[in-house]
Each structure stands twice: as structure tokens, then as C-alpha cells.
């Protein structure tokens, strides 16, 4: 991302810019902060990926080979926490920082200094998570959901994880307040809400979700912390508390969190498909309403994560049908994307490939989600590898593929260079193939009854686990190719035009490539 830095020299305002490391520490520029978010999330993606590969190595064959069961539990937990809070969420915030001001014609984010704080809270939190592996008892090992009683009984690693989550949550809330304020107050003249790019819309709704539920998570883990150290008994049955209460509070946060990780992905895909189909997005208004519906429904479906803890049949029916209801607005979205492609002049550059891959594979994950929504089936499949396969289909092939698509789509704008199209396409095909090799077989494992979060398994599961591990290593190594493509693009390549994509529309394509350090200081007029 050096290119954007060089460009800044031409826009000096007469006050000194710090250089070197201090430039990055003190920056309040949305593009700098977006860049830092993206690099941070990629580093955390690699860290979480290494943990995942350790898991898959242990699961390559039945029996215990590589890690002790206690370490295995730490790896599953930290893989989840790091990928959710360290990789996927900051990556989307990075996109928001970079693209939202460009898309709505704002000079910067609303609270530039707070934006800087939001980012710089992340590295200490990540450090706490990594350090927790080396304290007595090791890292948190109760699963990323931190269920009591395990989370109350564990060693100091759990405290570090809780502190890290508090910090990450504070960062998310500050980032979200920034995004909401920017979108509501700083749009260019003429940019009405219903003229906003869909990425801005999805992020506006996502930011509201974050502001609503991150404090609830903070409350829940604060209660765990006081249960651990200050003799409260919110979740301790021996003291009159109830561990199931934690599950309710956690999933009241946790289910909207699922949509926090996918709605911005919907936004990115909704930008890319029209650009490469060379048509306007089909059903823009319905897309906005579908996004809002998904967000509202996400607050009343949380208990489908806990059908097995015991609840009245009435409640099970309610949560089952409410969950299935979400398929309707999601179906509207998938329909609109396909309808946008219909009779479009499509070309398949890497962003479009990832967007199409997203629709195809994410929809499969959506269908397994519908299967799991059915209470009696969920009771059978709860905590099996079927669930693991389901949420990796929506999180990896959903959120992550959309992040890749967005990266390739906007990389020319960020760096001023075109990426290597051949390598980009190779990255897509390797990713989508190895992804399915890794996770498709996990459906079969789950249906056959293999439980998740176990370091060892019955011999009958050996073949599929071996296939899954091979796929995982292929997928992991493929991401090094992605790193290479991005670095190569930053260093050079064909000069990117202001608008390198024939069908792309939007204010971000009206500024030069790479985007100057300061943009839209005089607001553009949108008609």
C-alpha cells in the first residue's frame, strides 16, 4: 500500500506529516487506517489458519499424534475467536474505512481520531490472545462461545481472552459509531440514502447491529469475569446461577454477529455482480429491505443454537419457524443477484469469479442452515461436523470469498496497478476447489455422527478426515498465493485507469487510481 503514501506528498497542506512508523501510529486518514485494518486482518487470518492446520494435522489420522487433547481444545477455541474477531470483522471494517468515504463522497470518516483509536486497540487485543497460549493452563479452551462452567473454571488464559474480547468489542463499537455517523451525516449533496451503493447500505445496517449486540457480549463476558473472580454466581449453578442463561445472552449477541459477518459480504457482492454483468443491480430497493429484514429477524432466532439445552416445544417451534423465515429475504438477495446476471454481458475477471463462487457456495451453506433450523434434525446433528461444515460454508465461502472478491475489485483503486489476472484466477480456482475438498466431506462426517471439537475419532471417519486435511493444507497454501498477488500488485503492474472495470459505477471510480491521500474535500454533486 506504499503507493497511496507516495501520493500524499502532492497534497500536503503545509503542516508536517510524520513519516515512518509514526505516520501509521498517528494517522487519522481513512485510507491509511483501512490499509492497516486489512493488513492486520490478513495477519490474523494467517495466525488463525495456522491453528486450523494444526487441528487438521491432528485429525489427519485417528489416534493422538501431534497435540495433547488440552492443546487441541485451545486450538479450536482460539481458531474460532481469532478468525471471527481478528480476521473477518476487522477485514470488513477495513473495507468500510477505505471505501465508504469514497463511495458516498465524504472527505474522511466522521471521527478521524476515534478511527485511529479503533484500529490501534486491535494489536494489543491480538497480543493478549497470542500471549494466552503461554500462561499456566494455556489459552482459553472452552470453545469460542466461552460457555460456562468451563469458562468459569479455566486458568488465566480465559481472563486474557475475556480482556481481548472486551478490547475488540470496544474497537468494533467505536468503528460502528464512526460508520453510522459518516453514512448518515457526510454524504455528498444529492446522495440520498436510496442512491447509496449497496455496500454502504449493508454496512450501515451492520454497524447498527454491532452497536446493539457488542455491548451485550461485553456484559456477558463481564459476568463470566465477575463469576470467576468476584464471587458472583450469574452462571454458577452451585451458587444459584444458571449456565443456560449464558447461552441465551451469548447467542442474543451471537446470532446477529453471524449476520454482522455476512451482510457486508452481501454488499460487496452486490457491487461486483452489476459491474461485471454490465447491468444495473436488479431490485435495488428490495435488496435494501431484505438486508434490513435479515438484521431485524436476527434478533429473534438466537435459541436455534441451543435446541438441545431443553426448552418448551412452543419455544422450539417459534425459533424454528423464525429461523426458516430468514431464508425469505436471503432468497430475495440470491434471486436478485442471479437476475442481475440474467442477459448481462458477463465477463469473468477474478472479482466476478469470487462473487459467483460466493453465490454458489454460500447458498449451499444457506441450505444446510435450513436443514439445521429444523429442530428434530438439529437435535440429531447438534455439535457434529455437519454444523462445522455448515458454518464454514457461510463464513469461508461466504464472508471470506466476498473479501477476496472485494480485494481484487478495489485493488486497482488502492494501489494504482492492475493485479496479475492469471494468478488471481488461479487463486480463485485453487481456493474454491480446496475449500470444497476440505469442507464438503465434513457434511458426511457429521451425518455419520462425528462430533466436533474432538482430537480423536472412530476408525470409520478416517478416510473423510484424511481428505479434509489434504484440502485444508491446499487451501492454506493457496492463501500464500493471494499474499503474493497482492504484494506484486502493490509493487507494480499495469497502470490502472481511474475506472479499470468497464461496467463499474460509483463515486470511487471518479477519483484517480491510486486514490489520492485526500479525496472529496469539495463534495461531489450526485444527480
Amino acid at each position: 500500500m506504499q503507493a497511496t503514501h507516495d501520493h500524499a506528498a502532492g497534497h500536503d497542506h503545509g503542516h508536517a506529516h510524520p513519516t515512518g512508523i509514526m505516520r501509521w501510529i498517528t494517522t487519522t486518514n481513512h485510507k491509511d487506517i483501512g490499509t492497516m485494518y486489512l493488513w492486520f486482518s490478513f495477519v490474523m487470518f494467517l495466525v488463525g489458519g495456522v491453528l486450523a492446520l494444526l487441528l487438521r494435522t491432528e485429525l489427519f489420522q485417528p489416534g493422538m499424534q501431534v497435540v495433547e487433547p488440552e492443546v487441541f481444545n485451545q486450538l479450536t477455541t482460539m481458531h474460532g475467536v481469532i478468525m471471527v474477531f481478528g480476521a473477518i470483522m476487522p477485514a470488513f471494517v477495513g473495507f468500510a474505512n477505505w471505501m465508504l468515504p469514497l463511495q458516498i463522497g465524504a472527505p474522511d470518516m466522521a471521527f478521524a481520531r476515534m478511527n485511529n483509536w479503533s484500529f490501534w486497540l486491535l494489536p494489543p487485543a491480538a497480543a493478549l490472545l497470542v500471549i494466552s497460549f503461554f500462561v499456566p493452563g494455556g489459552a482459553a479452551a472452552g470453545g469460542w462461545t466461552l460457555y460456562p462452567p468451563l469458562s468459569i473454571q479455566m486458568g488465566p488464559g480465559m481472563d486474557l481472552a475475556i480482556f481481548a474480547l472486551h478490547i475488540l468489542g470496544a474497537s468494533s463499537i467505536m468503528g460502528s459509531i464512526n460508520i453510522v455517523t459518516t453514512i448518515l451525516n457526510m454524504r455528498a449533496p444529492g446522495m440520498t440514502l436510496m442512491k447509496m451503493p449497496l455496500f454502504a447500505w449493508t454496512w450501515l445496517i451492520t454497524a447498527y447491529l454491532l452497536i446493539a449486540v457488542m455491548p451485550v457480549l461485553a456484559g456477558a463476558i463481564t459476568m463470566v469475569l465477575t463469576d470467576r473472580h468476584f464471587d458472583t454466581h450469574f452462571f454458577n449453578a452451585a451458587g444459584g446461577g444458571d449456565p443456560v442463561l449464558f447461552q441465551h445472552i451469548f447467542w442474543f449477541f451471537g446470532h446477529p454477529e453471524v449476520y454482522i459477518m455476512i451482510l457486508p459480504a452481501f454488499g460487496i457482492v452486490s457491487e461486483i455482480i452489476p459491474a461485471f454483468a454490465r447491468k444495473q443491480l436488479f431490485g435495488y430497493t428490495s435488496m435494501v429491505y431484505a438486508t434490513a429484514s435479515i438484521a431485524i429477524l436476527s434478533f429473534i432466532v438466537w435459541a436455534h443454537h441451543m435446541f438441545t439445552v431443553g426448552m418448551p416445544a412452543t419455544a422450539q417451534l417459534f425459533f424454528m419457524f423464525a429461523t426458516m423465515l430468514i431464508a425469505v429475504p436471503t432468497g430475495v438477495k440470491v434471486f436478485n443477484w442471479v437476475a442481475t446476471m440474467w442477459r448481462g454481458s458477463m465477463t469473468f475477471e477474478t472479482p466476478m469469479l469470487f462473487a459467483c463462487g460466493f453465490i454458489f457456495v454460500f447458498t449451499m451453506g444457506g441450505f444446510t442452515g435450513l436443514i439445521l433450523a429444523i429442530t428434530p434434525i438439529d437435535i440429531q446433528l447438534h455439535d457434529t461436523y455437519f454444523v462445522v461444515a455448515h458454518f464454514h460454508y457461510v463464513l469461508v465461502a461466504g464472508s471470506l470469498f466476498a473479501l477476496f472478491a472485494g480485494t481484487y475489485y478495489w485493488l486497482p483503486k488502492w494501489t494504482g496497478h492492475m493485479y496479475d489476472e492469471t494468478l488471481g484466477k488461479l487463486h480463485f480456482w485453487l481456493s474454491v476447489i480446496f475449500f470444497n475438498v476440505t469442507f464438503f466431506v465434513q457434511h458426511f462426517l457429521g451425518l455419520a455422527g462425528m462430533p466436533r471439537r474432538v482430537p480423536d475419532y472412530a476408525l470409520q471417519f478416517a478416510d473423510f478426515n484424511m481428505i479434509s486435511t489434504i484440502g485444508a493444507f491446499g487451501f492454506g497454501l493457496t492463501q500464500l498465493l493471494f499474499l503474493y498477488v497482492v504484494v506484486k500488485c502493490i509493487r507494480g503492474g499495469a497502470k490502472a485507469a481511474d475506472c479499470p472495470w468497464e461496467g463499474a459505477r460509483g463515486l470511487e471510480w471518479t477519483v484517480p487510481s491510486p486514490a489520492p491521500y485526500h479525496t472529496f474535500e469539495t463534495p461531489p454533486v450526485v444527480r
Partner: protein, 202 residues
Amino acid sequence: MSAPNSPPPTEATAGVAEDNRVTLRKLLVVTAVMFGFGFALVPFYEKICEVTGINRIVKRDDHRPANTQVDASRSVTVEFDANLRSNLPWTFRPLESSVKVHPGELATVIYEVTNTSDRPVTGQAIPSYGPMLAGQFFRKVECFCFDKQQMAPGERRQMPIAFVVDPGLPTEVNTITLSFTFFEVEGRASAEPATPARGGRS
């Protein structure tokens, strides 16, 4: 498209900054409220569980611990009668003439006996029931009639009878009359008061 120089702050940008601060304050309030909401879920959850009874593993019982063998739905009056064979120099009477009991309920009644003579007398009480049918549902747990009673000259003694009316008692029986008659036990039994023969339980 981008401006080569940043324009000086205008009224418009100052207005945006003020709008931003207002939005910030509103969103911070939402954040604080939602943090409180997480904690509010604790009493809310307990209330839900209480109202719906979801979390009630042991069913709460609003009644006192009940003996299922006591039929509280009806009462039986038990009347007490005391008789002496004419040659027995005793007085013999129940302290209460009648009690009302539920079938299955344990009741205790005291009889008082006085030897009015100047010689030791041994007697045996024999119960009888009215109606006759009630006898098989009248369970005596403790009774002075189980043993021969030896009374010193002029001795006064209070003796209990503890009993349960079997819940199987036919419902048309509301009143049971229990009548005891003391007979003098003469001869050898009277001469050997130290080893009284065990009376039959009826």
C-alpha cells in the same frame, strides 16, 4: 475530482461536525443501554423461567407435606364407651367421650381406671365395635387392652389407646362406637401379676 487544496471550514462543515457530535451522543446512549440490557436479561430470564416453570426441576408443592394415606375428604366420629362387669370393684371411663378423625389419621385417647377396693385386682379389657363391620377397619396401634392390667389397692391409672381408622372404611359409616368392657381375671393369672399373659390383639 479530488480538490487540490482543502477548503477553509465553512458554516456547512461546522454544521456537519455538530451533527456528528449529536449522532455520536445518541449512539453512545444506545451502546450504554444495550450494555445494561445484557444484565437486564438476568432477572428477565429468571422471571420467564419462574412464570413458565421451565427451570423447576423439583415441582414446588403449595400444600403441606401430605400423607397420602390420610383421606382428608371425610371424617369419622369415634365414640368411646366404657363398661365393667358388675363384680369388678373399679371405676372406668374415657377422658373424652368422642373424637372426630379422618380415616388414616393417628389418634390417641386416654381412659382412666381406679381400683376402688382394698385388694389388688387384675383385669382384662375386651373391645367391641358398633357397627360390627367397623371392627375390621379399626387398627389399634397401642392399647391397654393388649395386656392384663393389675391394679394395686386404691390405685388410679390413665391408659392410652392409639388407633387409626383404615381409609378402606365404607363411606356409609360415619360413626364408630368403641366399647371396652373390663373383666376380672381370677385364679392363677391373678396370683402371678409379675408375668402377665399377653392379651390378644383384636
